[in-house]
């Protein structure tokens, strides 16, 4: 059980049955009044942001979260299936729960799956992934338009800006934290 003294940015707790992470926190005490703990929390399942103010003496249930390494198996419709390589247990995640992570999921990629109770609620990707460019305009030599980047589509369907010299079929490294092009994979 947490008390108000434990409140800080990053604390994960359970509220109305859902896991929340504290994203902003402020201790206040207006004019000889009582101590108030103002928090902003994000629902870890649907992303809803909540403002809550607590008083001394209030307690919270920690969010029992588990992170397990799993392999992405396949996508079917809007479902993504992951498997624990140790136990062969499989979990399903909806496209909207995955959010931007789905842009970088290629079959057999190993990710950390965040589990709340029995439910998979998110993934932590490697910081960098390699994906093949499936579509981009060819590099026009002598291009004087001054553009230093162009759009490219990668094998997951994700579209990003890449340098003009990147050609279709090339493998590139993408920073999953920003979604930006990082380097070209040689060879």
């Amino acid at each position: 059980m947490y008390s108000v003294a434990d409140l800080k940015k990053g604390l994960k707790l359970t509220l109305d049955g859902d896991p929340y992470v504290v994203i902003a926190f402020d201790f206040t005490k207006p004019g000889k009044g009582q101590a108030l703990y103002r928090t902003k929390m994000r629902n870890m399942i649907n992303g809803t942001i909540l403002d809550r103010t607590y008083r001394s003496g209030e307690t919270f249930e920690p969010a029992s979260l588990d992170e397990r390494e799993m392999e992405f198996l396949y996508k079917e419709g809007t479902h993504y299936t992951f498997m624990d390589q140790q136990t062969y247990e499989q979990v399903l995640m909806e496209e909207e729960t995955l959010g931007d992570a789905r842009n970088f999921l290629l079959e057999n990629l190993k990710v950390d799956v965040l589990i709340f109770g029995e439910k998979a609620i998110g993934v932590t990707l490697p910081n960098f992934v390699n994906l093949r460019v499936t579509q981009t305009e060819p590099w026009a030599k002598g291009d004087t338009s001054g553009n230093d980047s162009k759009p490219a589509t990668v094998e997951t369907g994700y579209v990003l800006r890449v340098p003009p010299f990147i050609e279709e079929g090339e493998l590139i490294t993408i920073d999953t934290r920003t979604g930006d092009y990082s380097t070209r994979v040689k060879g």
Binding site: D26, F27, G31, K32, Q34
Partner: protein, 301 residues
């Protein structure tokens, strides 16, 4: 110069200018013991114990006893301790400026606040205004005066007495009223509910409120001042009531400052105020956190 070092230079200028301000106006600088047998008990302030005594949560008890002994205008810069208060605007050990004047009431203190803000601002080269957290503020401008009752109706959308009755007063103050006080001039929020002024005199023309005010600048609560209650029997019964509320909330009752109660009948009509010096420096330094204006935070010790 690094930001924090610059702020400590600014802090020294602020302290110096406060001393100049009061000595030029005939206030005597006093030093009273920091370790005392009893503070004035407050429902929501927990003192730190030191052997069989307490560290002061405010120098008020000793300074008010000096008023009883005939000192007419006094001020003090001292450290105060309040247990478990740590946040963006709080450290458990902080610097307080308190000043007291006899044959005065809280209106005289409001004027002092205005004069002091202007004086300190000019000493720090901020006479033409400051920017605090993106808001430009004229520290020399005449303060907006608004009663707590008006503020609750206007910004809180609720009657002040109703908020006291359903215990939502503090929450509304923090979430709706304080943010509305972050304008471009200082604000004096005055006439607090009688229940929320343990040591203040009740307003003669309206028994529901006390002659107490808070000074806000840029949404920061800087000072709390009031006309002093000088009726020992009334004061004793308020202390007893405060301890009762503490115990109901599961906090220990606190010892009462008996010599203060014994001497209180000798206090002339007076007014006194406490101003958070760290907060004043935050304002002038445009610091978001109190950490940026102290030499050491508790975590750095």
């Amino acid at each position: 110069m690094p930001y924090r070092k610059k702020n400590l230079f600014l802090r020294a200028t602020v302290l110096q200018s406060i001393r100049n301000f009061f000595s030029l106006r005939g206030f005597l600088e006093v030093e009273t013991p920091l370790r005392i047998p009893a503070n004035a008990p407050e429902e929501f302030i927990d003192p730190l114990a030191s052997e069989n005594m307490f560290l002061q949560t405010s120098p008020e008890i000793c300074m008010k006893r000096l008023l009883c002994r005939g000192y007419e205008r006094i001020f003090q810069l001292s450290h105060c301790w309040r247990s478990d208060e740590r946040g963006r605007r709080h450290v458990p050990e902080f610097t307080m400026l308190e000043w007291y004047r006899s044959n005065s009431d809280y209106r005289d203190l409001m004027q002092d606040c205005q004069d002091l803000l202007k004086w300190v601002a000019e000493a720090c080269g901020a006479g033409n205004g400051i920017i605090y957290q993106g808001q430009s503020i004229d520290l020399c401008a005449s303060a907006d005066r608004i009663t707590v009752s008006q503020a609750f109706l206007h910004y809180g959308g609720i009657d002040m007495q109703a908020a006291v009755a359903d215990a939502s007063f503090d929450e509304i103050m923090v979430t709706r009223i304080e943010p509305a006080l972050a304008g471009n001039v200082p604000v004096i929020l005055m006439d607090y509910p009688a229940e929320m002024a343990a040591l203040a005199r009740i307003k003669p023309e309206d028994a529901r409120v006390a002659e107490r005010f808070e000074l806000y600048v840029g949404g920061l609560e800087l000072a709390n001042g009031f006309s002093e209650l000088n009726d020992p029997r009334e004061q004793l019964s308020r202390f007893v009531e405060t301890n009762k509320k503490r115990q109901q909330a599961g906090s220990p009752a606190l010892p009462l400052p008996s010599p203060f109660l014994e001497e209180l009948s000798a206090m002339p009509p007076s007014a006194g105020i406490a101003l958070g010096v760290d907060r004043l420096v935050m304002l002038l330094a445009d610091a978001e956190r109190i950490d940026d204006v102290v030499a050491f935070t508790p975590e750095e010790l």
